[in-house]
């Protein structure tokens, strides 16, 4: 199983009822559990297997639910493994690129392998130390395609990311000295680019989840909060801000829909960027409507503000990816043909 362009055109062998059962279970789990608990629940549900047969349903349901509930799991790292077509053992995870970028997190040179990437929340969890392995991806030395190798977590330096959103549970993972990681295996097919594409869609869905919750928080507040003898939801200035926010959410969701339909890594990059830009718009309007109360930690808005800002940095942020897309268009002097009717 590799990336979205090899994904089954329909949702694999799952009929409507099975899809419904899967997505309901996944959403239920992600809305009420987080971290290792959620990982355990996803293992029970068989989420990784579901990705192989129904990638769109499995990915969108889980990541949107995580975004909506501000929960987290190791699913992203495991998703990349599925996309790369590499069998992951229990306790394995794929290392994500550095924050703000999309390049493979490992680099091979004569002296060994250097590592600089992010570990998702599943990287360090329960179990005997050393039972967890990290799957590293690096570009082949001759520049053609990519390859993977594994290293035990204990061979790497890990540092918990605090910063804006410590609850996300990211780790900075580096090698310190160049490592000797043993055998590298070539990755066939779409390879790293296909994995990044799928990762971008997953993060995009998670961003859409955060956007939907921020909007619901603002909407709910606007209906409850009374000033000048009427709910502030009755003032056109407030209504129009929330309308703009909904347009941003729906635009981002549409871009993801288009990317799943189009199936190209380019469309996934575009959709990921749309989600990052959309989240910024939603944050702006919802922060304004939620006014004073939304600015305190007594209210949940700040958790979604933090989450969405940091998520935008996974697999490259909206601003950088957008500029890269534009540079490519200017260089080619043409627009890509995407998403036929």
């Amino acid at each position: 199983m590799s990336a979205i362009d090899d994904a089954p055109l329909d949702e694999g062998g799952l009929d409507a009822t099975e899809l419904d059962i899967l997505t309901t279970a996944v959403r239920q789990a992600a809305s009420s559990r987080s971290g290792a608990d959620l990982d355990a629940a996803l293992d029970e549900i068989g989420w990784v297997d579901a990705v192989a047969v129904a990638p769109r349903a499995a990915v969108s349901a889980l990541f949107e639910a995580q975004g909506e509930a501000c929960t987290t799991s190791g699913a992203l790292g495991r998703l990349l493994g599925t996309a790369l077509g590499v069998p992951l053992a229990v306790g394995d995870t794929v290392l994500l690129p550095r924050f703000g970028g999309a390049s493979p997190p490992a680099r091979r040179s004569g002296g060994g392998t250097e590592v600089d990437g992010l570990g998702g929340p599943g990287l360090v969890g329960p179990g005997p130390a050393g039972a967890r392995r990290v799957l590293l991806v690096a570009t082949q030395p001759d520049g053609t395609g990519s390859a993977w190798a594994t290293a035990p977590v204990t061979a790497l330096r890990t540092q918990a990311v605090v910063g804006l959103d410590p609850d996300l549970g990211l780790l900075e993972v580096t090698s310190g000295q160049p490592l000797d990681v043993g055998d590298w295996s070539a990755i066939d097919g779409p390879g790293w680019d296909g994995a990044v594409a799928l990762g971008r869609l997953a993060v995009g869905h998670e961003l859409v989840g955060t956007m939907r919750t921020m909007l619901e928080l603002a909407r709910s507040h606007a209906l409850d909060r009374v000033q000048f003898d009427r709910p502030i939801a009755s003032f056109q200035a407030v209504r129009h801000r929330l309308a703009e926010a909904l347009v941003a959410v729906e635009g981002a969701a549409a871009a993801l829909d288009g990317a799943w339909e189009d199936r190209s890594p380019l469309a996934a990059a575009i959709a990921g960027a749309a989600c990052g830009h959309g989240a910024r718009t939603v944050r702006r309007h919802c922060q304004q409507v939620l006014a004073g109360i939304g600015f305190t930690t007594e209210h949940d808005l700040h958790r979604y503000v933090r989450r969405s800002i940091v998520l935008d940095g996974l697999f490259g942020n909206a601003r950088t990816v957008t500029a890269e897309l534009g540079a490519r268009v200017l260089q080619d002097r043409s627009l890509p043909h995407l998403l036929p009717l």
Partner: protein
């Protein structure tokens, strides 16, 4: 006829007929020229069958999905063969006739529209009635005549696109009282050569006098020219909107994509920044994806509703974004250029300022989103 087959065959035909279909040099420099070009493309595509797909057989169509109409409009727009706004009026007016006209009238009239033998206009807005369409006052009164009772129409319409070219008008009139509001409105199909109609084109700021004032002074309209029942005019108007927000919207999105592609070629080196081009690409993709999903929903028989206000907002925003980029990157040509291409950029830039005004203003769209999609309650 399936979409994939239609696409392949149509593309092949458009390639083969390219010389015949192309506008001559300078042909689209004027409104008259654009209309002649549109009529030519409609005639050629109708006679070759393409224009007939996606319309019911009882009105001269060949049946099939609205997706086929979507693709045809996209293809002729993407090749620069038609002005998308003019082309897409068919998308809005034909369904109205099909759903509400007496069957014989629809069977007679719709093929003429599809083939470009006739141009139709839509008489909705009035000087005193824009966003608040339900308050329209153009009056129709039932009066006796030699041939039995007829509607006598008195009043005025404004912003009537293509009225000066039109043979027919889909006209909304008040047949009830003012207090009846939207329930007192009836739709009529009026011949523009009826005695008592005066058309006065409006000079716009973008150089294309595309709309007019239309005055009705004792105009007689037979009752068999009613579209739907007396008092059903509001439903006629509301049912028309989803078509504006689906196929017509898809066509305009294709036009914006083509113009961005043209801009990338026409702009001097360094005039366009990667981030702004990238952002336009991202926004156009979101618009395209949204519009595509709406068209597929239409195809599957779903009822389109207030959610299409989102499509409209995305479109208007994209249109202004693309032409803002053009005005920046081609500043000297837009400000000073006298050649055909510069005049097109200039005219389209100015027209893009109206994208948030026509077809339901940006404010009205956001009101609809707030009330109907976000359920924010009353706004007073």
């Amino acid at each position: 006829m399936e979409l994939d087959e239609f696409r392949t065959e149509l593309d092949r035909w458009l390639d083969a007929a390219a010389d015949e279909l192309a506008p001559g040099p300078g042909a689209t420099a004027s409104m008259d020229g654009e209309m002649a070009q549109l009529a030519k493309v409609k005639r050629l595509t109708f006679d070759a069958g393409w224009m007939r797909w996606g319309w019911p057989e009882r009105v001269g169509g060949l049946g099939g999905s609205p997706l086929l109409r979507g693709y045809l409009g996209e293809a002729v727009t993407a090749r620069g063969l038609v002005d998308p706004g003019l082309y897409s009026m068919t998308e809005v007016l034909a369904p109205t006739m099909i759903d509400y006209a007496p069957p014989e009238l629809a069977a007679d009239a719709v093929p003429r529209l599809l083939r470009g033998d006739e141009t139709w206009c839509q008489g909705f807005s009035e000087p005193g009635t824009g966003s608040n369409l339900a308050a329209l006052t153009c009056r129709a009164t039932l009066v006796p005549s030699a041939a039995g009772d007829v509607w006598r129409v008195d009043g005025q319409k404004v912003w009537t696109s293509l009225a000066q070219y039109a043979q027919r008008c889909v006209l909304l009139v008040r047949t009830g009282t003012v207090e009846d509001a939207h329930r007192g409105i009836t739709a009529l199909f009026v011949d523009m050569d009826s005695p008592g109609i005066t058309v006065r084109p409006i000079t716009t700021m973008h150089g294309r006098d595309e709309f007019s004032e239309v005055f009705f002074d004792g105009v007689e309209v037979p009752t068999d020219r009613q579209l739907g029942d007396v008092g059903q005019g509001w439903a006629v108007a509301m049912d028309l909107l989803p078509f504006e927000r689906s196929t017509a919207l898809w066509h305009r999105g294709a036009f914006l994509r083509r113009r961005l592609a043209d801009l990338v070629v026409d702009a001097p080196d360094g005039a366009l920044r990667p981030d702004e081009v990238g952002r336009a690409l991202v926004d156009l993709f979101a618009l395209r994806a949204r519009s595509r999903r709406t068209l597929h929903r239409l195809d599957e028989g779903e009822r389109l509703g207030p959610e299409t206000s989102i499509d409209k907002i995305l479109l208007a925003t994209c249109e202004q974004e693309v032409f803002d980029l053009a005005a920046d990157a081609l500043a000297e040509r837009v400000a000073l250029g006298d050649d055909d291409a510069s005049e097109h950029w200039r005219s389209e830039y100015l027209y893009s300022r109206a994208a948030t005004i026509y077809g339901g203003s940006a404010e009205i769209q956001r009101n609809i989103v707030a009330r109907r999609l976000l359920d924010l309650g009353a706004d007073r």
